[in-house]
């Protein structure tokens, strides 16, 4: 036992920390190269390209990809977002209200709609006319999707707004009140404008989330003029028995979502500098 450290020590001393680091890095590169080699050798690249990136099929997606699918995705997302933004602000104000029943209603709504899968809510909306005979969601499919996205988005946006409203210092309300503004006027002239400015970055992320959730239209069985990117890709993929349209739809999503993501983090950074 007493000899062991002696024998171990010279062995350890042979490698300096820098050498150990170099070896570790070498192993990581070796693993990466091995995986790439296996991928290149064993994947059937011709078949993959045929199924996911077939130029002839990709060409079939035009021009409907942009004139119908992307257009509808944007219509669904923007209309849902407008509902989510307004309803989210109302819910956030209710959540922070002095009046207890308002707080309860807001909490229950937020918890339910954040806790349920978006798909479930979409399906429920399609059943609304059955549950309420004579009831029609205005603007047909557009209205249904906007309502679905808005109902979900409002719950998340409410929490975003709540954080923003609570981040406005108490002194701001005191200054407004000491100038003779009523509590309501102080909220609308002083607190809410500042809160909205603060929540622009997380709200941009919420917009991206709604954009992706608009793909759930896929499950609503809408007619061809209402398809958005996901359903458009899926329909064409089935028609051609080829996944290329799905790839094309995916790339179209990324063309929108990645710049928005960068925009959100740029805005976040600017806010950090101003504080």
């Amino acid at each position: 036992m007493a000899d062991q450290p002696k024998t171990a020590e010279p062995a350890r001393a042979r490698l300096s920390p820098r050498q150990k680091q170099r070896i570790s890095r070498g192993i990581q590169y070796a693993v990466l190269v091995a995986v790439l080699v296996v991928l290149v050798m064993y994947a059937d690249w011709v078949s993959l390209a045929q199924n996911f990136a077939k130029p002839a099929v990709a060409q079939e997606t035009l021009p409907d990809l942009f004139t119908i699918a992307l257009r509808n995705t944007i219509i669904y997302t923007v209309s849902g977002f407008v509902i989510a933004f307004v309803a989210g602000l109302v819910l956030a104000l209710m959540r922070l209200s002095q009046i207890r029943p308002y707080r309860w209603i807001a909490i229950v709504y937020i918890e339910i709609f954040r806790g349920l899968p978006a798909l479930l809510i979409f399906i429920m909306i399609t059943f609304l006319p059955l549950a309420l005979p004579g009831f029609q969601v205005p603007f047909g499919t557009y209205g249904q999707v906007a309502l679905g996205l808005g109902a979900i988005g409002a719950a998340y946006q409410a929490e975003v707004f709540r954080a923003g409203l609570q981040a406005v210092p108490k002194g701001q309300i005191e200054a407004a009140r000491s100038l003779g503004m009523s509590a309501t006027r102080a909220q609308f002239t002083v607190v809410i404008p500042q809160a909205i400015r603060m929540v622009i970055p997380p709200t941009t992320n919420q917009f991206v989330a709604l954009l992706k959730d608009s793909s759930l239209v896929l499950f609503l069985g809408v007619s061809s003029e209402y398809v958005e990117l996901a359903k458009f890709g899926n329909d064409l993929a089935s028609q051609h028995s080829n996944a290329t349209p799905i790839m094309v739809a995916g790339i179209t999503y990324l063309i929108v979502t990645i710049p928005l993501g960068y925009l959100a983090s740029r805005l976040e950074g600017r806010k950090g500098r101003n504080r």
Partner: protein, 247 residues
């Protein structure tokens, strides 16, 4: 004569903590009264009770003879006539200096945009920041921000002004600019209740100095008496600590 401010047996509790323990005091029109005292003595709370930013637990507050603690009083109307300046300035950061001074004129006094702008520019000129009309608060120094805040209060044509440690958050070299503006207001006959640690200002500008400690008024009199020749041991101890901190 009606007092500008009258406090009768004013009490304020925060939970178990009794911050004001029965304050009686008056401020007459045109008077400048400085409230001094150690931190935690209740000075700011006293000031904030005058325009009901704090609701007194017990007692009455009268402003120009009107009981503002009465449940039926329109508190927004009362506050309109009382200018308040805060330690942390509390300018609206999303508005320019000019907009800060205009907004309450437009929304509360219902002045036209044109009139509000004229009044705002006058007051910003008066406090020496007329050149900074289009700057956002974040682009101004603390001293400039505090002067914009004073202009914002003055634009409402208040009958009296409350100052809550207006220079405590300022870098030392910026204190003078703000005190100069306050001195000018005092000379113009503005009724002012000022919570401050600036003993020089209190001695030179105040008509009366009030020393508070532990939620009660300990001493109340002319500055030469309260600062120059305090009668109470608590006042003397406080002034020793403030005027000769190194000893």
């Amino acid at each position: 004569m009606t007092h500008a401010i009258e406090l009768k047996d004013l009490h304020k509790h925060f939970g178990q903590n009794e911050v004001l323990k029965g304050i009686d005091m008056t401020v007459d029109p045109g008077q400048v009264v400085c409230v001094i005292g150690p931190s935690g003595s209740g000075k700011s709370t006293l000031l904030r009770c005058v325009n009901l930013l704090e609701q007194p637990t017990k007692g009455q507050v009268f402003v120009k003879g009107v009981e503002v603690t009465h449940p039926d009083v329109d508190i927004d109307a009362v506050r309109r006539a009382i200018g308040m300046v805060f330690q942390q300035f509390n300018l609206f950061p999303h508005m320019t200096a000019l907009q800060n001074v205009m907004i309450a004129q437009q929304r509360v006094l219902k002045r036209s945009k044109k009139e509000a702008e004229i009044v705002a520019r006058e007051n910003l000129d008066k406090v020496g920041v007329g050149a900074k009309c289009d700057a956002l608060p974040g682009q101004l120094s603390g001293g400039q921000q505090q002067r914009v805040a004073i202009a914002r209060a003055l634009a409402m044509n208040p009958d009296l002004m409350l100052f809550d440690e207006p220079t405590s958050a300022l870098d030392p070299e910026l204190v003078g600019d703000v005190l100069t503006v306050m001195r000018k207001l005092a000379e113009e006959g503005m009724t002012m209740l000022v919570v401050t640690h600036e003993m020089g200002f209190a001695r030179e500008v105040a008509d009366r100095v009030v020393f508070m400690d532990g939620g009660v008024l300990v001493e109340d009199g002319a500055p030469a008496q309260v600062i120059g020749d305090p009668q109470q041991e608590r006042t003397r101890a406080f002034l020793r600590r403030v005027l000769h901190p190194e000893e």
